[in-house]
Amino acid sequence: MLNTITTATGPTPDAGPMRTHPARIIAIKEEAYAIATYEIEFEDPALKEAYQFKAGQFNMLYLPGIGEAPISMSSDPATPQVIGHTIRYAGNLTRAISRLQVGDVIGVRGPYGSAWPLEQIEGDDLCIVTGGIGLAPLRPVIYHVLRHRERYGRVFLLYGARTPDDMLYEDEFESWKQQGIQLYLTVDRADPSWRGHVGVVPMLFYLLRLDPKKTTVLTCGPEIMIHFVIYEAMARRIPKERIYVSMERNMKCGVGICGHCQFGPHFVCKEGPVFPYAAIEPFFGVEDF
């Protein structure tokens, strides 16, 4: 319904929330086979200054001629001028990114999505359970916890990878341990030189003595892994309200208007990717949902 007659020409729609912003790659660090971390900063100084993100959120990365894909931030949210994305070269965009070098430009828009509830869970023991590249969106949590170590109780990091060579951020593990993170690493497939654990990540729960009254579980990884993590956590009487899950769905617009990332009543790009398990329980595990 029109209230007044607007001008005959009418407004010109701009790119709106779909506008992508050039950002320059300032460092590339190889993490594992076909996985690297890209540190980028916006070309526009004002944007660089204003940009902030929370642990668990994602950006839409774009390359002209290739397209867009959602990638979580893996860097320290306290230093948002330099944004880190850990990328596995698996698809069209990520493979194209693998051909980029320091100084090249990619498009970025964001941040989008929900974050790990870092304030809300202060005082808790944290049990971070993750596999594969799922550690990337949890690294900002670790940085935050290390910055504010006193605000959290015991911190367990349970991390599984396919093989020892697939482990991300290995060079940081020692420092994390020294700062009081209890690190449990496991691999699905070990070579004889591996002295650590073998087996899937959820099996690491058997090594822990968790206090169900004050433990919060944060988990990210393949959905099937999350299933087992939830199972183990619930078996240890950790309430589902204190299990947080980062979900993967097909996020295309990032702003809740394209419909692709629906998960029951939720848009994963908007209300997710981080959900308390209690919010998604009715739909989690429904076949092909």
């Binding site: 001629g65 290739i66 397209g67 069209n92 493979r95 194209a96 051909r99």
Partner: protein, 268 residues
């Protein structure tokens, strides 16, 4: 008369176009990209394209387009050699991806066919069947259609030049049909249409000219040919008509083949 062949200075990706049994229409799509033909020639080195040029550069080729179906014993050897020489091999068109209209022979006796057409059958050397390229070698990408869409072809070439995996939709023709605003010919006129089981890519031209889709882009992802077949019967099509409808330019593609075979059994 001297031949003036300008050498290509810089190293550009090499494109080759090969033909098997076909009508030439799909490779013609490249020449039909009139506005962009010279741009393509600038962007890639057209190393082998007999329809357009005499020059034939040896492989390896970065991108190879293969038109036509395999229908003679020599073809099998040739396609294997071409595969060896090709980094990225694209089968273009219904002949190369499904055997083409000439795959209708696959349901019949070829000797009888030869006798119908030729006075001296002993001169003809042909296989029993006309089959897609993928029956014999690995195919990196398939462009469907009879003929292919030149827009899809350009998109694929552009994608490869830019470094993107080409991707074409695998959903139904109906999506394109509705995007262009054509009222469904089956619902509004009772015209038999394979659109709901056929892969998009043609921009739903047939319904836009008031006729049903006859499936030249082949089966869509997970086509429900059973359900559509029931609907076609309800519209009054005899099983023989349904057989003919499915057994068309991409009729030898598995899902359509099975659907037509099922209706043929009904007749028998």
């Amino acid at each position: 008369m001297k031949r003036k062949i300008k050498p290509d200075v810089k190293s550009k990706p090499k494109l080759a176009v090969f033909k098997f049994t076909s009508c030439d229409g799909c490779q013609l799509s490249l020449l039909d990209a009139e506005d962009l033909l010279l741009d393509i020639a600038d962007a890639v080195e057209i190393a082998y394209f007999v329809e357009a040029r005499d020059r034939r550069l040896p492989g390896p080729y970065d991108v190879t387009l293969v038109e036509g179906s395999v229908s003679t014993p020599e073809h099998i050897e040739q396609i294997r050699e071409i595969r060896e020489e090709s980094k990225f091999l694209i089968a273009i068109g219904a002949c190369a991806t499904a055997g083409g209209i000439q795959a209708l022979r696959n349901w019949r006796n070829v000797d009888e066919f030869i006798n119908i057409v030729y006075a001296h059958p002993e001169y003809i050397d042909t296989l029993e069947t006309s089959t897609p390229i993928s029956e014999f070698v690995r195919v990196d990408f398939e462009l469907r259609g009879c003929p292919i869409s030149k827009y899809q072809l350009l998109d694929v070439i552009t994608a490869l030049l830019i470094g993107r995996q080409p991707r074409t939709p695998t959903y139904s023709v109906c999506i394109e049909c509705k995007r262009r605003g054509t009222p469904c010919v089956m619902v509004s006129r009772g015209i038999a249409c394979l659109g709901p089981v056929t892969q998009a890519g043609c921009n739903a031209i047939c319904p836009s000219v008031n006729r049903g889709c006859f499936g030249c882009y082949g089966p869509m992802e997970a086509p429900n040919t059973d359900s559509l077949g029931q609907r076609l019967e309800a519209l009054g099509l005899a099983p023989a008509e349904i057989v003919r409808l499915y057994r068309n330019f991409s009729g030898y593609a598995e899902a359509f083949r099975l659907a037509s075979d099922a209706y043929e059994e009904k007749i028998a």
